[in-house]
């Protein structure tokens, strides 16, 4: 089974580039150039130097002793939460801004839900002195005020998406419309492994620094290159793609994806796409999509704004379809409980997105000798208000 993208931009039955003709030249320019640019030694040198000196990579692979005792296995945390800006998102924005520069682009646009990708984009634009416009759903602007101010402080213009449900999917629509209106000098930095080909592959490659580091870190600590399990949360799926990347073709490594079950799969307030979705087309790719019988996209729900998306990346739709990854639905309550558990046992406040991955361990049958890596994709500072409201700690 082939898990990487094929020459037509597909992962099995999913992917492609379903875009209006007006966007074809931009996406085609990217498709023709992204691999050559990324493989260029001078690009790699600059990318790696920034990841090391600016982002603070490699991110530690930390053996969480008390968490391991709690779950009865050897549990490592891949500490993406320690990156500059507090999440894995910056790996991708650093890569894409360098790529945009090489394509001669003068402006950057991005979409954001919780604001993490928006902050990571505003950060690299400030670093490079490039104009930055971030689209954010009006509802999310009110939910995530501190991140809105962070983006503004970093010099970005934050534009509210007023259409549809005024959340992440609408911010993505608005960013695509903006790109249609400004096709020549603008690059669109998509924040996840979603969108038309080559975005899912490009973003997965930039995030694959996570699994690349895991190989030598595990060898140092465990004397083996691969774990038994990799566990990551999936909204669009960029941190999961990055932590699975170098292990996808090794069937001995079990891949586990934690989806946002919201208030429960059957509650009508959920974002568990593999449980509730059907194949469909949104934001440029064919993937699993939460939708009505008539093909209208359904507004998802999750306590975590970063997982509050009605689709998943086409790579993940394929991993699900092929049975390569096990998808586990985690409710809001289970995620909050796991987040608080990590605070108490390890002194780490995780992003609520990442707390979903920790909660997944409760639903796995583990043996003492099993080696797990949980991708701790982000830190929980941004979620403090949600933790306070939830209480119970």
């Amino acid at each position: 089974m082939q898990y990487k993208v094929d020459k037509n931009g597909y992962y099995g039955n999913f992917g492609g580039a379903f875009i209006p003709e007006m966007l074809y030249p931009n996406v085609e320019e990217l498709r023709q150039n992204y691999l050559a640019i990324m493989e260029d030694p001078s690009f790699q040198q600059e990318f790696k130097a920034l990841l090391s000196d600016y982002v603070g990579r490699p991110s530690p692979l930390y053996l969480a002793q008390r968490l391991s005792e709690h779950f009865g296995a050897r549990v490592y945390l891949k500490r993406e939460d320690l990156n500059h800006t507090g999440a894995h998102k910056i790996n991708n924005t650093i890569g894409q801004i360098l790529l945009a520069q090489r394509l001669g682009k003068k402006r950057i646009i991005a979409e954001t839900g919780a604001g993490q990708h928006g902050v990571a984009t505003a950060t690299v634009c400030a670093l490079m002195g490039i104009d930055c416009v971030v689209y954010m759903g009006e509802v999310d602007i009110h939910r995530q005020k501190p991140n809105v101010e962070r983006m503004k402080l970093l010099g970005a213009k934050v534009v509210p998406a007023l259409s549809g449900s005024k959340t992440l999917k609408d911010a993505t629509n608005e960013a695509m419309r903006h790109w249609i209106n400004n096709p020549v000098d603008t690059h669109y930095i998509i924040g996840s492994v979603v969108g038309p080909h080559p975005y899912p592959d490009m973003v997965a490659r930039f995030q694959s620094v996570i699994s690349e580091e895991m190989i030598w870190q595990l060898e140092e600590k465990e004397g083996r290159k691969s774990p038994d399990y990799i566990v990551a949360c999936v909204g669009g799926g960029s941190n999961a793609a990055g932590s699975y990347y170098h292990y996808m073709d090794d069937p001995a490594v079990k891949l586990v994806a934690a989806e946002a079950g919201g208030e429960g799969i059957k509650s009508g307030k959920s974002a568990a796409t593999t449980f509730l979705g059907k194949p469909g087309v949104l934001h440029g790719s064919k993937t699993l999509l939460m939708q009505t019988q008539d093909g209208q996209v359904v507004e998802p729900h999750s306590i975590s704004a970063g997982l509050d998306y009605p689709g998943i990346g086409p790579l993940h739709a394929h991993l699900f379809d092929a049975g390569r990854a096990r998808f586990i639905s985690i409710t809001d309550a289970e995620a909050m409980k796991a987040g608080i558990l990590l605070c108490k046992l390890e002194g780490i406040i995780p992003a609520i997105e990442s707390a979903h991955a920790i909660a997944a361990l409760n639903k796995m049958e583990l043996a003492d000798a099993d080696v797990l890596v949980i991708n701790l994709s982000g830190r929980g500072d941004k979620d403090l208000e949600t933790y306070i409201k939830w209480g119970g700690y």
Binding site: A17, P183, V281, G295
Partner: protein
């Protein structure tokens, strides 16, 4: 390879018999009220419109500006679906003779079932389809056979950024007309036609394509319609027409009034 013109298709017939000032109007099915679809088609036809694009509402129309986004949302809130649309236009050929095109995004069509969709379109007497987010390669490999079997012309868009090679490829794979997007924009975005746009229209004309062109996006009144008609066989009005509709007002009267401002 040039195919013989199929005069049995109403689109080909229109372009064969009318050389200029072809007026095409886009509206959203189920807007402003769910029952307005058929009366809108009939009123437009009675006003002498040459071609109608019936918009299939979608929750996430990325190529559309605020006006069509809002009309689509209203139509969906009204309970509009593809199944209802096909029921509404089942007998449309008893009252309307002009070419009719369905325009909509790919996802609702996929969920309805592609084959089922094509069959229903054919039996309603639809002549063509515009699916803005259906890429050409995908169309050629997966959709063309079914479209052809049901005598549905697939209409492609081109924009100022479309390369000459790609325009040739689109021309080669088109039967009917080419939808020339007037500028780098979503629908309803701009008013007025700039000298830069005129140079683009001239550049396309100089290519002597085998298919006729209609200009759309940003055509909002008589002035822009007339100007577009100087460079193409006709033009398409969408957002400006939708803006003139209001569920509180008499539908037929509003449509007649709007069309008087154009023709």
């Amino acid at each position: 390879m040039k195919t013989a013109i199929q005069v049995n298709n109403r689109i080909n017939h229109l372009f064969k018999h009318k050389s200029r000032n072809i007026l095409s109007v886009y509206f959203t099915a189920g807007y402003p009220r769910i029952e307005d679809t058929r009366p809108t088609i009939e009123a437009l036809s009675a006003c002498g419109v040459d071609l109608i694009e019936i918009g299939i509402p979608f929750s996430d129309p990325v190529a559309d500006g605020p006006t069509i986004q809002a009309s689509s949302q209203t139509a969906l809130d009204n309970g509009m679906t593809l199944a209802k649309l096909f029921t509404q236009i089942k007998d449309i050929r008893k009252s309307v003779d002009i070419p009719l095109i369905l325009m909509g995004y790919v996802n609702p069509i996929l969920q309805f079932g592609l084959e089922e969709f094509c069959k229903n379109a054919r039996s309603a007497g639809i002549d063509g389809l515009i699916v803005p987010d259906l890429p050409m390669q995908e169309y050629l490999e997966q959709y063309k056979v079914l479209f052809d079997q049901n005598a549905l012309h697939n209409i492609f868009l081109i924009s100022p950024q479309t390369s000459p090679e790609r325009i040739r490829l689109i021309d080669e794979n088109t039967d009917g007309f080419i939808y020339m997007v007037s500028s780098a924009s979503i629908t309803g975005a701009k008013s007025g036609i700039t000298p830069e746009q005129e140079r683009y229209f001239e550049r396309i004309n100089a290519m002597s394509l085998k298919n006729p062109t209609l200009i759309g996006f940003g055509i909002s009144n008589k002035a822009t319609f007339d100007k577009a008609c100087a460079y193409a066989r006709g033009a398409i009005i969408g957002s400006a027409f939708i803006k003139s509709l209001d569920k509180e007002k008499d539908l037929k009267g509003s449509i007649t009034d709007f069309m008087h401002t154009i023709k």
